[in-house]
Each structure stands twice: as structure tokens, then as C-alpha cells.
């Protein structure tokens, strides 16, 4: 796998933008390479074709099955960000969750 592409989505793309920064800091610290970006809920479907995995905030977990249906077209997994990791703004844990999901896809 080349550069890992991780899409984060939440209702306005704001809290996940901060999480992106945290994840990028962690990725850099371990010498990994990943493209991580955040969008709001309305853009999630349009952006997911470019991603290897999609992680969504708790405020849009009710949209998970709808988003997964769309993501199936690109063979991409969608999951809700782990609650503990989200609540602590833990970039390392969220990145590891993304890696696990991508692993399941290979």
C-alpha cells in the first residue's frame, strides 16, 4: 500500500479538523506517511472515492449505514471513531483504528 489516505467526517468538519492535526503529528513522529483530511457531513460521499478508509464522528453515527452503502462502491470501509479516542482527542488511537480498518480490507 502506498500513502495511506484517511478521510474523517463530522457534521461540520470542525472537530475532526483538529483531530487530523493530532493524527498528522503522530504519523510524523513515527516516520509514517499518510494523507489525512476532514470534511463536513454533506461532502463525505463526494470525497470518499479518494480515500482508503472513512472515519466518522459520533454526531453522524446515524448515517453510518447510508455512508457504508456508498463506500461499498469503492470498496472502502466506514466506521465511527472510537468514543474514548474521540473524547480524548487522541490522534494516535484514531490513526491506529484507521490502520486496523484498512488491514481488514486487504
Amino acid at each position: 500500500m502506498g500513502v495511506k489516505k484517511i478521510l474523517l467526517a463530522c457534521s461540520s468538519g470542525m472537530s475532526t479538523s483538529l483531530l487530523v492535526t493530532k493524527m498528522q503529528q503522530y504519523v510524523k513522529s513515527i516516520g509514517d506517511e499518510a494523507e489525512i483530511w476532514a470534511v463536513g457531513q454533506d461532502q463525505a460521499k463526494a470525497e470518499m472515492a479518494k480515500a482508503d478508509v472513512v472515519l466518522i464522528g459520533p454526531q453522524m453515527s446515524f448515517l453510518k449505514s447510508e455512508l457504508q452503502k456508498e463506500a461499498d462502491k469503492y470498496d472502502v470501509k466506514v466506521d465511527v471513531i472510537d468514543m474514548v479516542a474521540y473524547g480524548m482527542a487522541d490522534g494516535k488511537k484514531v490513526y491506529e483504528q484507521a490502520l486496523r480498518l484498512m488491514g481488514e480490507n486487504q
Binding site: 454526531q59 453522524m60 453515527s61 446515524f62 473524547g87
Partner: protein, 109 residues
């Protein structure tokens, strides 16, 4: 999930905790409306109750913040905290409206 004690959290984490609990509530409120629309009123009621428990967790954090401010301890303001407040307030509004919508839907049957 345990009730968070804000003393062990950074300001940023306090914001994320508020968004987490309001966000869980938001998802459950909207899911409740969907369930009601599909005729499962029991599931809808259970989801609304769960949403209220999530909102209580958010209120518990909020309460500690207000207490902290009342004891003249400055709370550092940030965009993420303002955003968290928006989340909490909009979810409260959403919950009240969805409750009414569900009742309205029942009357129309």
C-alpha cells in the same frame, strides 16, 4: 461510559467530551425519528431516553465548567469550546423538536 471529571482533562479534551456526548445524543435523536417513522415507537422512545442520558453526561461536564468559572477560575476560550457549545445547544433544540414531531406523527395515524 463513566462521567468525566474535567480536572484531569485539557481544555481541548473538555471540548471533545462535550461534542462526543452531544454527538451521541444527536445521532440517537435522529435515529429515534427514523424508527418512529417506520412504526417502531418502543425503539424510538428507548433511543430518546438514551439520548437524554448522553445529554446528561454533557450537562455534567458543563456544570463543572460553570462551577469552575463561578469560583473565579478562568476558563480559556477557544473555537473548539464555542463549537462544542453549539453542538450541545443545537442537539437540545433537536431533541425537543423530534419529541414533538414523533407525537405529531402518532396523531396523524
Amino acid at each position: 461510559m463513566n462521567e468525566a471529571n474535567i480536572d484531569v482533562l485539557t481544555n481541548e479534551q473538555i471540548g471533545f467530551q462535550l461534542i462526543l456526548h452531544s454527538g451521541n445524543a444527536r445521532s440517537k435523536v435522529l435515529e429515534a425519528l427514523r424508527q418512529s417513522r417506520q412504526g417502531d415507537e418502543a425503539r424510538a422512545a428507548a433511543l430518546l431516553k438514551e439520548a437524554e442520558e448522553d445529554l446528561n453526561r454533557a450537562h455534567h461536564i458543563h456544570f463543572q465548567m460553570i462551577q469552575r468559572e463561578a469560583s473565579d477560575e478562568k476558563i480559556e476560550f477557544s473555537l473548539i469550546l464555542m463549537h462544542a457549545e453549539d453542538h450541545l445547544m443545537s442537539t437540545l433544540t433537536m431533541k425537543e423538536l423530534v419529541k414533538e414531531l414523533i407525537e405529531w406523527g402518532k396523531q396523524r395515524l
